[in-house]
Symmetry: C2
Subunit: 244 residues, 2 copies
């Protein structure tokens, strides 16, 4: 019996190679609104202002020997120089035609050895404090910049839908995990913390209840410091102590 | 310029084909405990009691033209005859060595055309009422049977870890989505509903608060019927009306 033919589904995977990639939706918070990190795809030496290709979230193919989380960290660091930040896998995207839109042909032909291949991508989202992490473009990213969630243009492939899905997951995750603090600088005010919750959850919260709930969180610690350089009455600063 | 060499990462994806699969963690509820649907891998005509291969959750390779959700439904239906049930993608599993354990070599060599290939799998979970859905093994599943969560043996590949991760996701999802009703028969008692919540969340709930919260759910409707054939005092039956 020939083992090559023994798979009951009759599939011959040799004839249907998939490319596998990672795409990272990096959310940042500037104190007022949520932003997403986008890259402009290009090569070093190309006109930095070239808008020949669509912007995209930072992503690339997975290497043969690396795990998924490992690939996500490497790719984000390669393209944006961001290292050691919070990254969470949230969803795989695999519509058979997801990279075959006409708008993406030139990029694919130029940057991928096998542009005719179906690509399944695994979406990760990241949260960073925009004050503390400054992205720097590298590798095939000619630019890396923040874009407010409300102003995202048409992106490469299905990246608009990937951002939407990442935001939906973030909304659910903030309820169960203390990840929201990743978006804040080391010292923050309760006003900033409440505003960030409101932006992510998409609804206003009652200030008194919110503060009562925060008081119950052992990891949120009041500092003996106030805001500086603000025009209004300076608010007390807090910090989040990670439990080991 | 040769486009074959132009990918800045230097990767040649042709030399690193991935196989892509789906694995389905099907949770069932028997009124008392959560169970998981397992298959015994084998071929028709083989001794049905053969324990030559480990049991596994129902999974298989994705076909070239199908989307991920579509593949999940086809594979589950192929192996267990379960159709039209709730399925939700929850996580991709891609440790580079996840199929290369010695315990899995014989199965891989027998059932996969390219047993040396790395396989990334996308995990889905399903919820079914055990009263209403009866799995029937087919294709390369010689058996399909329910196994209580507490008694799951060592499974093929990393399937024990996949079940764990599916359960973790289910715990978070019941808080946001009315998916728990997928696990119940069409008519159920509030006692069953509470017990199911307690099992999934892993904690006891206060009966009075629980009933007060259920009363607020417009979709949970009291029927003009009571349990039949029980030894204790028959409880009132409820149903869940899906909103369109």
């Amino acid at each position: 019996m020939n083992t090559q033919a023994s798979h009951p589904s009759g599939l011959d995977p040799a004839s249907v190679p998939f490319d596998l990639s990672i795409d990272n939706v990096v959310f940042g918070f500037d104190g007022e609104q949520l932003q997403v990190l986008l890259i402009r795809q290009g090569l070093p030496g190309e006109d930095m202002r070239s808008d020949r290709f669509h912007m995209a979230v930072p992503g690339d193919l997975i290497s043969p020997e690396e795990g998924l989380d490992e690939a996500a960290h490497r790719i984000l660091s390669n393209l944006t120089s961001l290292k050691g930040i919070f990254l969470k896998q949230f969803q795989a995207f695999g519509a058979p035609d997801r990279v075959f839109d006409e708008k993406d042909r030139e990029w694919l032909t130029r940057f991928r050895p096998y542009p005719e291949r179906r690509v399944v991508t695994i979406g990760y989202y990241s949260l960073v404090s925009m004050e503390e992490y400054r992205p720097m473009p590298s590798s095939f990213a000619s630019r890396a910049e923040w874009c407010p969630l409300q102003q995202i243009p048409q992106l490469a492939f299905d990246h608009n839908a990937i951002i939407e899905a990442g935001l939906k997951q973030l909304r659910e995750d903030v309820v169960h995990h203390n990840i929201i603090f990743e978006l804040l600088p080391e010292k923050f005010t309760l006003g900033q913390l409440q505003r960030l919750h409101e932006i992510i959850l998409g609804k206003e919260l009652d200030k008194r209840n919110f503060r009562k709930n925060v008081k119950k969180m052992e990891n949120v610690v009041a500092l003996d410091e106030k805001q500086e350089g603000v025009l209004h009455k300076p608010a007390q600063l807090y910090t989040y102590r990670r439990t080991v």
